[in-house]
Assembly symmetry: D2
């Protein structure tokens, strides 16, 4: 279980950090959409290790191949299978953790659940398992952008206690992306980027790790996406975000800060703007009653500090002995910069599904 | 879409605030389990309006009926249909909102999505739609308690800025529940309960509303529940919680506070305790790599202040005119006390499903 | 498992023959469709027992109630819950089968699967469990008829060795239905109806039962419904039909008779007719490669003779003893006449789902 | 839609006849099961083209690769991705059908549904799309054989009017398989095999094609698999079988022949055999009330003659013109021999899913 998401735009991912390949199968992608690797590879490159000074030096090119589902560079309505073959799987790096459970990592829980587990590099629990998510997300983004006018923009808004508290100018999405992508952190502020980079490098030097916050916006989502009860749009987004490794929380719109406000302070007042119903404020984060209201969707995702650190820690091993652990190998001291495209991809999967579902909601709109 | 949850313990809910009935159908509840209304009604009573000084005075007995799925007071493996018929549906209360969108409520988004909507009392967006959730949750709790030894305990830990910062003694779940249920707020501290009650009453008097936080624990969950990638246990819990009306965020274990810690500060160190692998701390909230680790599951859910307030507000109507709105009728000034059984029920749905799924995970455990 | 069908037009049924109520919940029915009991009751009346000389004398009015999902006689996009409360449940009729497994009935298999079972009247295995199917099917038919121009017509084409080998005139669906519904058998030939009726009455007199064939057509299905591989339209229809109690086989179009033909004899030659691509013959039964081709969909379903007969039979009981069984009570000597609306309803569920799915197939057709 | 089957043992297939690769992703295969290519390749070899005198000469080795889901030759509970890369895709063979719809083939319906289609070799409608089915089926068979003692045996029982009317000795499944696999037809009778082979060769020579029947048995299925209503075991089998290209019908047990019997003739009488409840006859085909009864499961599947023939035919083209078509290329004159492993695989997918589902049916059997 757990490797599939979506009702209509349905994505199944597969692959472990040190298996032969990782990837995804996308079912029910609409037919006739132009699609080539040029649509997919850029986001994989934003996710791949070894891309900058603040990520793991494990170097993987993560080149994708489309195995099925397109013909003459267009989708044909058949499942789109995408694969990235593993290249740089140094086995020796993981011998030290073969029998020792890394604290706050998935080693122990996978052993308890499956008994037999792929201990090299975290197996299915590795962040590499998000390759399929990012590849499918790139396809989802294309549908959203070209047919629904929806743009998704995420960025790092906090590393430890260094907080980006501004409001990025998203009026021009591509310009906003240029600013965000212009630094290794993916924070929309160059000077903060420098401070964050130094903090990450110092922390890595100290054998430790850092957490942070990714903020994400979706622009152009029309009113009407999401469903009552279990598939409220905020519920689906929360599920998708907490499905990203190392996440510990999410807040939509005003989030936890709403708790200390009264209703009269918190309510988003409706008003007419250019003939459209809009809200003066957006504490709802673009979602009311579980359904989008046409305002920007906004949420924040908390990432804990990376569990794998090189500093010595106490732990236990498979034989139930208390032991000392010192992890070698190449790890991200802070996953935040690489988490940005993953957050975007997860949101794209949720929204593309909603877009397809929206085609059959109203009786009067049904077409032969 | 959106009215079904679960893969094996699968629940579909139905009903609007002012329709004929609300309820649920539970598919795949194991056969041969003793089940009567006595298992279900108590949680519905904890959820029902009119139960105390701090809830809406709308008085509904919310008496459940079991329409199918049991025979001689035991389940038979067939769908269990449960219905609560509406009694106290005063139509006149809602005439003022027939054409005006209440701020931060679902009126506008439902109109945009469905065009034709049940404007009385919120229809499907009403908190009454959680009746089916609570009824099904009661069945789920029974499975969990009797076959897995799992106990779920939720309580109010914050109303506006009044915070319960203690750690309730959960060693004896029933004793803990007695403390929590002994006051109208469902906070495990009698003196805080009084302060919170007064704050709610004063706020109601002022025509305003309040938000807060519900904290929830699941005790006895064994290691191994949850799945990689999209069905991580934290992801499924997040989805279930943000599917509750008025929620704005969730954090698991250390949550957003993890962000400012380093890995060496945050990691939960494994150690042997009585021959079992346990962690010294529980910043993971009982979940690592998306799978339960045998420690208590812990999370916090943020509820915004109730959107429907009696104070006058600006808004727009269905004809696109800016108007003034003054809502009459009977509303909860603060949903937190009644949200406690809903949070528990949602968690029970997620965990009961995981329990059933856990029966077929390991090859060596499969039985004829 | 097993009580839900459909991806978008998703129906969950519930109820046992002698429980409190039976019915269904329809999720994702498009909003804004006029819907009242007048749309649903007629098909329930065609299915109900006691309607004619050839059915069981157990008399149930099977009056439906809509518990949710409509507002002012229109759908609102919320789950439509429909219930039929049981009235005429004579308990004494079933004491003789409490402990004895009726041959070729579900008594034994339900006991083996669930251990605890509702032995009165077959419980969930009873044909009464199709009430929810027929109710939901009536809603599906309305969508198909009003928005897709699809008409479904089924009839009895064989009772034992009395065969209707003609081709009914379906050019005017309502006229065709008048002919079919004008006799108790639902065979489109009045003189055959008389012979079949006498055969059924004689067989009932002899304490025995009969099987037969229902033929079904769907007219107006456009090309393009159905999906490759597991959800081929013929596969989905086959599943839906063999989900009807007492069915033993299905053939689409030429069916088993195709086996003795060569490809050149069997192929349906394409030709242009009035500017449209049509086939000269319709051995494909309207489906090619699993997808509808715009020709009428045609298939035949085999029903075995009713398992419950009043003639004395050998069997075994719950204690593993060989015993003699003589079933009292009121049973259909031949289910065929009442199976006609069930076949139609099952097909309607499949086609309505495909109609909704068809709204999001092509990239170029996606709408904001 | 349509490329996924199963609730717990969930299989998604992908791939077109002339794409880069075809294969499947298996979710939720139990962990700790020994699994290598040696378990999968033999069935792919039974399915592959070019294996004998009676199949298409298109020669594909169809060598599988396991991309994920195993570690040190055992499953780990993660998705098992299997891929077969296409080798022998002669493009020139298909130029003649680029714009002409082959009669009774999927060319027209795919064009109508998707507009943009992979016209080479049938694309997703090709029988090559069953590669993923057969690969996944081999994994399913292993689970069934090793943990449930279930053996699946299929064979050709009819080619055109040459009928195998015997009852093969299945007491020793491996011996039965040896007999069946000892001839190119996979009929359990060597002399019939010769007659059938000659008929196929003669028909190919004449530019024509043949249909036939595959009979399938599952031995060792315990009582209790299958679910009421929509997921009756016969319904699920019917869906799986009619999901195989070129199928036109299925009958379970007595099938269409049941129609002319009375209930007293048709009923399978229960009796005690060696302390177990068995039936004297097996007209039920091992399934009663949709649930297996412990007797062998038996059914027959009708395959139409192959649609693609080399004889000249009339048809229409994409521009709506009546044209003459003469298909070149390499086609099976009769798919029956290669259909045998596909029928087995489809049944294995259904039964493995039921086996996993059976682990969580009874309350008293649930385990921590």
């Amino acid at each position: 279980m757990g490797s599939t998401i979506g009702r209509l735009f349905r994505v199944t991912t597969y692959g472990e950090s040190h298996g032969e390949a990782l990837g995804c199968v996308i079912e029910n992608c609409p037919s006739g959409m132009p699609l080539t690797l040029a649509d997919i590879q850029p986001d994989l490159d934003r996710r791949r290790p070894g891309q900058s000074r603040v990520t793991t030096p494990r170097d993987e090119s993560d080149k994708a191949r489309i195995l099925s589902g397109t013909f003459e560079d267009k989708t044909i309505g058949s499942p789109i299978a995408i694969a990235v073959f593993n290249e740089n799987a140094r086995e020796k790096d993981y011998s030290d953790i073969k029998e020792i459970f890394r604290p706050s990592h998935a080693d122990f829980t996978y052993r308890e659940k499956y008994l037999h587990r792929a201990w090299r590099g975290g197996g299915r629990a590795s962040a590499r398992a998000t390759i399929g998510v990012v590849a499918a997300g790139a396809v989802a983004k294309k549908i959203l952008r070209e047919k629904a006018g929806v743009e998704i923009i995420a960025y790092v808004s906090q590393i430890k206690d260094i907080v980006f508290s501004g409001v990025p100018d998203l009026a021009n999405p591509n310009a906003a992306r240029s600013v965000i992508e212009s630094n290794d952190i993916r924070v929309p502020d160059a000077s903060l980027a420098e401070r964050m980079t130094r903090l990450i490098q110092d922390t890595r030097q100290a054998g430790d790790s850092l957490g942070g916050v990714v903020t994400c916006h979706a622009l152009g989502v029309p009113a009407g996406w999401g469903d009552p009860v279990f598939d409220r749009l905020d519920a689906l987004i929360a599920r998708a975000m907490l499905a990203i490794p190392a996440t510990k929380g999410i807040e939509i719109g005003s989030g936890f800060s709403s708790v200390v406000m009264t209703g009269s302070e918190h309510n988003d007042i409706f008003e007419m703007q250019d003939g459209k119903v809009r809200t003066k404020t957006n504490r709802s984060g673009g979602i009311q009653g579980g359904i989008s209201n046409g305002m920007p969707i906004e949420f924040r995702v908390a990432f804990k500090p990376t569990a794998t650190i090189s500093r010595e820690q106490m732990s236990v091993n498979e034989r139930g002995e208390n032991v000392t652990l010192k992890v070698k190998g190449r790890h991200d001291p802070c996953v935040l910069p690489r988490a940005v495209p993953i957050v975007e991809a997860m949101l794209a999967l949720v929204l593309a599904d909603q877009f397809l579902l929206s085609q059959s909601v109203r009786f009067e709109d049904l077409r032969m």
